[in-house]
């Protein structure tokens, strides 16, 4: 499984370098109907990591550095919601193509977690 190879062998120090490795792995996969899913997922993973990196930068700028890299898309949105960053969460949701249904679930879970019962009721 070439993706494992890419992840394991990588001596990449930066995100960019790792993404290059992943793209190489992706190329070996391409050209096959069965593997289109894997290519697409890798592409999305790269996008996701970029977005996460951006979020980390933003949180550093705010003076409250948070880690997002390598969380799943759902977990990222969830932690944003719990941190009360509804706007960022909504943006992230749109950019990472999470379904509306998933987003609702996440909101409910986040409201429950923060015990924001008013928010839950408004919802």
């Amino acid at each position: 499984f070439q993706v494992r190879q890419a992840k394991q062998d990588t001596k990449a120090v930066t995100l960019e370098e790792e993404h290059n490795d992943l793209r190489v792995a992706m190329k070996t996969l391409s050209g096959n109907r069965i593997t289109t899913f894997y290519e697409k997922t890798i592409e999305e993973h790269i996008t996701l990591q970029r977005l996460q990196r951006k979020l980390e930068r933003a949180s550093e700028a705010e003076g409250r550095p948070a880690q997002f890299l390598n969380l799943s898309a759902v977990d990222t949105v969830y932690s944003l919601l719990v941190a009360g960053k509804a706007k960022q969460a909504a943006d992230f949701k749109a950019n990472s193509k999470l379904s509306d249904k998933k987003f609702w679930w996440l909101k409910v879970r986040a409201y429950a977690q923060t015990q924001d019962w008013e928010g839950l009721e408004r919802f």
């Binding site: 069965i34 997922t41 996701l48 990196r53 390598n70 799943s72 990472s96 998933k102």
Partner: protein
Amino acid sequence: MTTASHLLQSPINVLALREFMRQKLIQTLESSGGPMPKALVLDESLVGPLGTVAEYSFLKEHGVEKLYQLEATLETELRHVVYMIRPSVTIVKKIADHIRDDPSKRYFLTFIPRMTIICEQTLIAEGVMGNVNIQEFPMDLVPLDSDLLSMELPNAFADVALHGDSTPLYYAARSLVKLQVVYGVIPRISGKGKNAKLVADMVSRMMVEEDLREDDIPKEIDNVIILDRDVDKITPLCTQLTYEGLIDEILNIDYGFLSLPPALMPVDRNTVAPTRNTKIPLNSGDFVYEEIRDLNFTQVGPLLNKRAKKISERYEERHGAKSVKEIKTFITQLPGLQAEHQSLRIHTNIAEHIMEKTSNNKFLHSLEQEQMFISGVDTSIASAFIEDCINRLHPLSKVLRMMCLQSLANGGLKPKVLDQYRRDIIQTYGFEHLETMYNLEKVGLLSVTTEGFRYSNVRNLLKLVVDEVDEVNPEDIAYVYSGYAPLSVRLVQAFSQSPTPRNGESALKDITGPTFDYSNTVQPSNGQYRQSSITVGGQSIREQGKKKITLVYFLGGVTYAEVAAIRFLAKQSEGQQEYIIATTNMVKAESFLSPLFDSLPIPKKGFR
């Protein structure tokens, strides 16, 4: 450690097999430094299987002074150290450390079942090859019960289907040859599946090398049916509903033993509550268990109740005993009565514990969904149930099990549905599970709709789904999964009838993988009888020409519920047909799938 009394009541003389291995074990121990007292170091995964063959006192008789489990360091004052290990590089490296710590001792390495080239190279690379004596101990099938033999190779299915490693197949073939050395040539070999065919071919080649003559040893087994797990991947994904199956699903059975948590151990005034898990043997030696193990779980409660009433009646008998003679008879019965009582109490506790779990809503909902998939309801669309599970962050293993079941029952998923599921999983559980998706696809548990295997055809042909199941007085094997008759066991039925009924024939055609059926051709004896070198303890109980004995060999694992179904077939035949079950390993949904789960290495900390 175990005694072997439960092995006595067997269609074939399983004790002979155990004896065969004990002899080999003695040889191994004796050639490791003769009668000198030695330390025996076991790799953890071997403690169970070895325990089924030899108890501690037996090892002690043959010079084992102390028993250790393999750890990073070894502290022993004994000069002779015998290791019994699986061929694994990490294990060999640990041993190399031991040797460097104290090179003055004598070290003996026994590989089970054989040394691999990579282990040899590791020993050389670690520079300890000169310090060790190497042996091999071909332990393969160990008897878990009087009718159940297992090699206990935990990842057999994944090794073969995913990694393309045919070692388990080779071991299986060799164990089949060994069985024929002990029990005589098996005249008929049939089976289904690519790997089953491979094994059958290997067996016939090895038989030529073994130079077994047809009538050297009296034949005990009439035919063998080899089934490749690849042929029926559905059954191990279903929740087993027999008592034994549920114990395995919920509490886990290990080499025929249950490790019972202290909370479930019955306590009374005279005994102290245990603080650690107690090992309970689960086999036919315990006749309370023997009676309930293969029943549908719904029947276990009433039966235990009935037994409890009976036993208290028998205790009451002591008040009725008048003469000294009567009292004497009562007292002689007492130990048996007490053992039965204790076993009843244990199983009542276990059954209550299982009841708690099975009446839980989560359990019931999954079961309902499972049965819908199997009977072909809503299999072609994305299941709301599965989506819900993902959104509620249920364990990934459960979600994947359901997905695989749906995929198999529908003969593959529509590309759109499959992609939606996979995306959902990656988005929710993370990118690291991409490889798991790939693995499941590779072994055919998840797939897009293909023209090949049509589960729905097979389901109808073999009547896999039985609507009205009488769980009290079952008439069909479908009771073991409350309405689903395991495909694998239906195939056993089809093979056992001759000629194979027509619907069985066409079902076999619908399932991928070759079907084969041939008589085992071994050169007829040229008059020279070879003396069998095995000492057989006691004669087989089988009366010649009366019962037919069939060996069913599962490659890639068998579930306890399937075992129950096969035992049920024997019961139904009213003594005409007996079965012995052999397998690479015992499986359940969790242990079947987990070797296929592989998360990608994702660094815990992000890049900076």
